[in-house]
């Protein structure tokens, strides 16, 4: 008895290829920026910007808004959520993020923690003569 049709098999292979390629692409495009900062956004608005610093390692930042409470810990060039009052605790389970473009999302509290590259913000590139 053959349940999988030919179309199914092609579909599965196609999806594996697409997702692996795009995974590779998003991972790769995140690498080429060296200066990074943490952008903390609540409900779409950026409320805090933190540039990584050796002095800040181990520092915790409480984020208390009308949507909920999260406690963020900064490590060596990485950041994570260690406490949250949301029911699923997905943001805590995710652990550290360190690369540009990586994000931690806490949907119930409308919190997004994103690592951004400083170069992204510049409108004009350097002009060299």
């Amino acid at each position: 008895m053959n349940i999988l049709t030919k179309g199914d098999k092609y579909l599965i292979i196609l999806i594996i290829v697409i997702s692996l390629v795009s995974l590779f692409y998003t991972k790769n495009s995140a690498f080429n920026v060296d200066e990074k900062y943490i952008s903390i956004q609540v409900d779409g608005k950026e409320i805090k910007r933190i540039i990584f610093d050796k002095k800040l390692i181990g520092k915790t930042i409480p984020i208390k808004t009308e949507f909920g409470y999260n406690l963020i810990e900064i490590g060596d060039e990485k950041v994570r959520v260690i406490e949250a009052d949301c029911p699923d605790q997905l943001d805590v389970k995710q652990g550290y993020i360190s690369k540009t473009g990586e994000i931690i999302v806490c949907l119930p509290n409308r919190l997004v923690i994103e690592i951004k590259g400083i170069k992204d913000e510049r409108d004009v590139d350097y002009i060299s003569h």
Partner: protein
């Protein structure tokens, strides 16, 4: 199947989907992909679509989402589950009616799972006003491949049995 019998059968399907969602929400989430779910209640919607049709499946899906809010109490998740199930139903119906020669129910449910994830990420990024969330989509796509496969496999067996028994009891 008509009238009262259909009504009862559809409400049974709604409650079955609800029970599956509740069980699913109790399950621990795999570490690799936070936010990924098994999509067990998708089995119910897929079966309804195959046995009854598009309209009935839409009703079951929407009712299930609404009653699930009453169970869990988180209203903000309504948008995610509602948008996900509606878009996945549209996709599944399209694939099922147009390409049922090419894809079995497994393919149909994989399409549904991918559309479901797409709708949820879209709603999430609109709510957060941050389209970077889409960078998470490839991982969800890979997991939806596995969950879609097993949902489709389960639906194939269930549909086969239900078709056999419904002929005897209802027609």
């Amino acid at each position: 199947m008509k009238g009262l019998k259909k009504l009862i059968f559809l409400s049974l399907l709604v409650s079955l989907g609800l029970a599956l969602s509740v069980i699913e929400s109790m399950m621990p989430i795999p570490f690799v992909a936070p936010g990924a779910k098994l999509g067990l209640s998708n089995i119910v919607i897929l079966i309804t679509m195959v046995l009854f049709g598009f309209k009935e499946a839409l009703i079951v899906g929407i009712l299930k989402s609404f009653v699930f809010i009453l169970v869990t109490g988180s209203v903000s998740s309504l948008f995610y589950s509602l948008s996900g199930s509606i878009l996945s139903l549209f996709t599944m119906y399209l694939v099922f009616t147009k390409f049922s020669k090419v894809f079995s129910l497994i393919g149909v449910s994989i399409f549904g799972a991918i559309a479901h994830n797409f709708a949820q990420i879209l709603v999430a990024s609109l709510m957060m006003k941050n389209f970077r969330i889409f960078s998470y989509y490839p991982i969800l796509m890979l997991t939806s491949l596995f969950t879609g496969y097993f949902v489709g496999l389960a639906s194939i067996y269930i549909v086969r049995n239900l078709k056999k028994h419904m002929k005897i009891h209802f027609y």
